[in-house]
């Protein structure tokens, strides 16, 4: 039988500990260095809860952890691992090679527990003014729009605006309204047109 963790919590839990419903493991963990996140899941009944746990966690680990650290009796536990998409490197890495390499991030592990007592989450806030939600969304939108540009004034490559201007120039050339000249000798009229369009937009 695989021994589970027996976490020694030094009696930091103020509430009275309920009677254990399982046999403790024999492998004490004194200084755990991981996070267990409680996640709100709307469709769950009040006697169930969902957690994100480290990848190495087993169901027995979570059962011991919740009992010793929070005084929660997990009667039954279900677990699944959610794999993640392949992504292009990590932007926080300094090495160019690491940023340009396709990687698959470590998957996430989730566990559902059944409890003998109901737990209801606190209400969601209705007013998001303290979090400055409007400004946050505007900033995000702007950042997504200007991502990958050298400066904020530069149009993104292959944008609709650029495509329209190019098509207009091509049409002028083909229908003879515009005579092609090398740009070294004289600035093309089309580029002046583009400049005027940009001025109007600004």
């Amino acid at each position: 039988m695989k021994p589970s963790l027996s976490l020694l919590t030094n009696n930091i839990n103020a509430k009275p500990i309920v009677a254990p419903h399982f046999r403790f493991g024999r492998k004490p963990i004194y200084l755990p260095n991981f996070d267990v996140t409680l996640l709100r899941t709307k469709h769950l009944p009040v006697t169930q809860a969902k957690f994100q746990v480290p990848l190495f966690f087993s169901k027995l680990d979570l059962r011991d952890y919740l009992y010793n650290c929070y005084g929660v009796r997990a009667i039954n536990i279900r677990s699944y691992v959610k794999y993640r998409r392949v992504q292009l490197g990590r932007s926080d890495r300094s090495s160019r090679h690491e940023r340009a390499t396709w990687i698959r991030p470590r998957p996430h592990k989730f566990m559902f527990i059944d409890m003998d007592r109901p737990f209801v989450w606190p209400d969601e806030p209705t007013d998001f003014e303290p979090w400055d939600k409007e400004q946050f969304e505007l900033t995000n939108e702007y950042q997504q729009k200007t991502a990958g540009r050298r400066n904020s004034e530069q149009e993104p490559r292959g944008s609709d605006e650029e495509r329209k201007t190019l098509a207009e120039q091509a049409r002028d050339l083909l229908e003879g309204r515009q005579k092609w000249k090398p740009t070294d000798s004289a600035p093309a009229q089309a580029s002046r047109k583009t400049e005027a369009r940009r001025q109007r937009r600004v």
Binding site: N13, D35, L39, Y70, G71, V120, F128, W131
Partner: protein
């Protein structure tokens, strides 16, 4: 009955003309469709009737010109079900039947209940579903549930950035050196629970798309991490100081490392004769090495 057997039976009418050449020629059109035992009938039976009708030659004899031995055949009796099963098996009802009350009742075939069948449940008093989520009854949770440990004292869903930012500095190694193992262990678990709280808060804020607050949460998380790092450092220092004290005691000839019960652990050398004037200082020195033997009293080096 297994499915292949049912299929075999359903295919049976195709071979019917060859298996019963005389009877097939004699069966008139009004005896069809054939009802097959244990098959759904339906399409296959009507298809079989169409095939049997078309295969009949226009010059076949009519019912009146059937041979005299025809009534002995089971097929020739009007409106009799066709079956290859033994005759006693086909009698489901009556004194010699199988007395199975649920014969012919199938949930798979959606036959419905048999006549005058009663169930243990009824349609009366069934709860009405409430489709509007706002009108449903709200369940009550326990006030002293252990999962409240994943929230702060205020038991709020998510903290505002101001509330999240209201925290102090981390514990330094200098402060932690003076603490006992019980204190350090308890402080470690306080930090572990705080980390869980911050992660829960961040996950909920991202789910709600509430806005700013990730920076404050990250700073608070890093502070808890730094406290834990300092606890580790203080414990590592203590561990090495204990090892050094053991080494020093082993090298000291006046200290007995493994003294028996009742035997003094400190034996001063006999050659040493203290002067009268330094009597007090010698007593103080005697105390110091004896303290050094106990690892739990050992103060770590700075």
């Amino acid at each position: 009955m297994s499915l292949p057997a049912a299929r075999r039976l359903a295919r049976r009418p195709q071979r019917l003309p060859s298996a019963f050449p005389c009877a097939a020629a004699a069966v008139p059109a009004d005896c069809l469709p054939l009802r097959l035992l244990c098959t759904t009938g339906g399409a296959s039976a009507s298809a079989a009737s169409a095939r049997t009708t078309s295969s009949r030659s226009p010059g076949s004899p009519s019912l009146s010109s059937a041979p005299a031995s025809a009534p002995a055949s089971p097929l020739t009796s009007a409106r009799r079900a066709f079956s290859t099963a033994a005759a006693r098996l086909t009698r489901h009802r009556g004194p010699r039947g199988d007395r199975n009350a649920n014969r012919g009742v199938s949930a798979l075939r959606r036959t419905g209940l048999r006549p005058r069948q009663t169930l243990s449940v009824g349609k009366d008093g069934l709860p009405t579903p409430v489709f509007d989520a706002g009108k449903r009854a709200r369940p009550e949770g326990d006030e002293d549930h252990g999962l409240w440990g994943f929230f702060g004292e205020r038991r709020k869903c998510i903290l505002t950035p101001e509330e999240m930012n209201a925290f102090g500095r981390e514990w330094t190694v200098e402060e932690l050196r003076r603490k006992s193992w019980e204190d350090l262990h308890g402080l470690w678990w306080v930090c572990a629970r705080e980390r869980n709280r911050i992660k829960t808060d961040s996950a909920e804020r991202q789910r709600l798309q509430a806005g700013y607050g990730q920076f404050e949460a990250d700073e608070r998380y890093k502070t808890a991490l730094r406290t834990q790092k300092n606890i580790r450092n203080a414990l590592i220092e203590r561990w090495y100081a204990w090892g050094s004290a053991r080494q020093a005691a082993r090298d000291d000839p006046e200290i007995v490392m493994y003294a028996r019960k009742g035997e003094p652990a400190y034996k001063p050398s006999t050659s040493y004769e203290p002067e009268e004037a330094e009597d007090v200082e010698v007593k103080a020195e005697e105390v110091a090495p004896s303290q050094e033997r106990k690892p739990q009293d050992q103060q770590p080096r700075a």
